[in-house]
Symmetry: C2
Subunit: 286 residues, 2 copies
Amino acid sequence: MAEVVRGKQEIRERVAAARAAGKRVGLVPTMGALHAGHRRLIEQSVAENDFTVLSVFVNPTQFGPAEDFDHYPRQLEADVAVAAEAGADVVFAPAPEEMYTGDHSTWVDEETMSEGLCGARRPGHFRGVATVCAKLFNIAQPDRAYFGRKDYQQVKIIERMVRDLDMSVEIRSVETVRGSDGLAVSSRNSYLDPDKRRASLAIWRALKQAAALILGGERSPRIVTDAVRSEIVRDGRLRVDYIEVVDAETLEPIVPLEGRIVIAVAVYCNHTRLIDNITVECPKPE
Amino acid sequence: MAEVVRGKQEIRERVAAARAAGKRVGLVPTMGALHAGHRRLIEQSVAENDFTVLSVFVNPTQFGPAEDFDHYPRQLEADVAVAAEAGADVVFAPAPEEMYTGDHSTWVDEETMSEGLCGARRPGHFRGVATVCAKLFNIAQPDRAYFGRKDYQQVKIIERMVRDLDMSVEIRSVETVRGSDGLAVSSRNSYLDPDKRRASLAIWRALKQAAALILGGERSPRIVTDAVRSEIVRDGRLRVDYIEVVDAETLEPIVPLEGRIVIAVAVYCNHTRLIDNITVECPKPE
């Protein structure tokens, strides 16, 4: 059974003891509601380190006022069981007051890679993400931290933060886990009934088709995004928030498409916002 | 002789070796042009730790476009001699390119305590300060870092940053060192000829008089700042940038004056901007 720790000081001590014993420390930062994607992160951390901290914290500062903070699924007991099964050593599950004082006033702002994609639609979201990750890195002082590539922009922003602020943690990004039907696993999938889930399969189908287009030689981002859009809106139950094709490293638009690119989408199915992405290496022109 | 290290990786290794040998590490972050104030910081670090890193870096991101970045005094050789004399173990003097990539995009923003005083007059200044301190803390990973109280707002912002981002460094603030004439020592004092230096003595004289006023029972911030202003502008060679009386912890205006307060001023003597402050414990009303 992985032990649950509520206090920053206590988790610091646990990690310090592990480190004093010569152990390498992995951190898997999550908002709980653990699924197979988180499980893969934990397993990879366990494989690459000697001591794995799972953090479970629904971070209020990364939710917009109209977003689902209040309704975000919380299920610590189940999460602790998953953590233990996957091999985590300790679960850090702080209360909001443990993480933020009433007069909290310091923020980490990444200002280039946060501009487009989800950053443009969720003002303040990545400020909240970067700030809480900086805090968690400072509290747990891991050698490595694990993030899923479903949140592609998040991974790139965290990597950039670590580079720019000279943090001594290695960011490991882990491939998106999908259901056998192809849908990227997400805590928000629990909002989908079977019918909506079926509708949502168009997202991954569209991304795969778009990747095939590019591998077939297409270089126009407009043609690629139009193809993704028409596949996604086809049956009428999904609404596009954005579809963008960007450079996989800088997250900047690139015309014509060249090098390693990412097609990233956010889609609403009723009130549920789903994101997904696919990375494609554009074939070199002959 | 204190050794000069130019690279982040090398200073990390030097500190890691010291730590592995059980040494406590102190960091004194400076922009060089070392004076008696810095010397006191180094000496205190040497007294309280086993290994002292002095950083010398004229941080471009904390200067405004119209400020004196290009002309800021640079004298590494002399600084290294002072560092050695005061007992520092190593001088970290990175080139600007070692600290900032061309596409640097992550900033640390303290948004409450940075609003008034120097923050209001030097937009972006404390963002630059907080960001470079976060970087230096992450690079040198000190147990303690030392700052002079002449830059009172800076100290409070760094303390807040450390608290809010859960950094594991203890901030030690050290009393302002003054010349025998009372002028707070500052690298920018080198811009003053003897006549301007004489004029500048009004700053500390005004602050002491204001403190006496408060200790005598005055509770009106307006009366206190008016008194400081009239003393400072009296002979016509100083121009006031700001005079503020604020709570010593929150840096917020406080009317009537109560508890521990700070009178902080910034003054121009020709093109040279000088700052100083005095802390006063308001006597309890009878």
